[in-house]
């Protein structure tokens, strides 16, 4: 087995793992972080697939913007929840 293929195997497994954990981990903040990790792994994958255009887009849009959107939403939801609890 060549070095490239074993790296790909490892990468594929990490993709599946991070994707799975992003859905299944009980804590939402961890899930979001895992999702961003997943996005970065995707970027690597695209690079491995000789698709630098997609890699760039994935880094900027897939992992970056989507991640930022999700984190921002999470932050607001968290803040609201805290505020609501504080009011109680």
């Amino acid at each position: 087995m060549s070095l490239g293929l074993s790296f790909d195997l490892l990468l594929g497994a990490s993709l599946l793992w991070s994707g799975w954990r992003a859905l299944s981990t009980p804590r939402l903040d961890r899930a979001l972080v895992l999702f961003i990790v997943f996005g970065l792994l995707m970027t690597l994958t695209w690079a491995r697939l000789a698709a630098p255009d997609i890699a760039l887009a994935e880094a900027a849009i897939g992992a970056g913007l989507t991640g930022a959107l999700l984190l921002d939403a999470y932050g607001v939801l968290q803040a609201k929840r805290l505020a609501a609890e504080a009011r109680k």
Partner: protein
């Protein structure tokens, strides 16, 4: 096995994982995550299979670029809905059954 085919298979797994997530998960943010996994899976299948003999295929790459943009658009819309729903009702999950009264 080439890396194209390998990642295509990974993509198949991601697609199915994401699809099941969209169907099964309750929390709306997680559903959005699941939808994104599903999309990434489909993209991987598209590019991976087209490049399973090792040569880059610009057509599928361009398609995936289009797909990524569409996915982020859908994600943003979904987030807007979720955030607004949360503001109105404080809920982050959809009620069990469609209420028909």
């Amino acid at each position: 096995m080439t890396s194209g085919l390998l990642f295509a298979c990974v993509g198949a797994g991601l697609f199915v994982m994401g699809g099941s997530g969209v169907l099964l998960l309750k929390h709306l943010l997680r559903r959005i995550l699941a939808f994104n996994l599903m999309g990434s899976g489909a993209f991987l299948v598209l590019v991976g299979m087209a490049q399973r003999h090792g040569i880059a295929d610009p057509v599928t790459q361009a398609m995936v670029l289009t797909g990524i943009v569409v996915a982020v658009a859908a994600t943003a819309l979904a987030l807007a809905l979720v955030r607004h729903l949360y503001r109105l009702s404080g809920k982050l999950e959809l009620p069990e059954a469609a209420d028909d009264d």
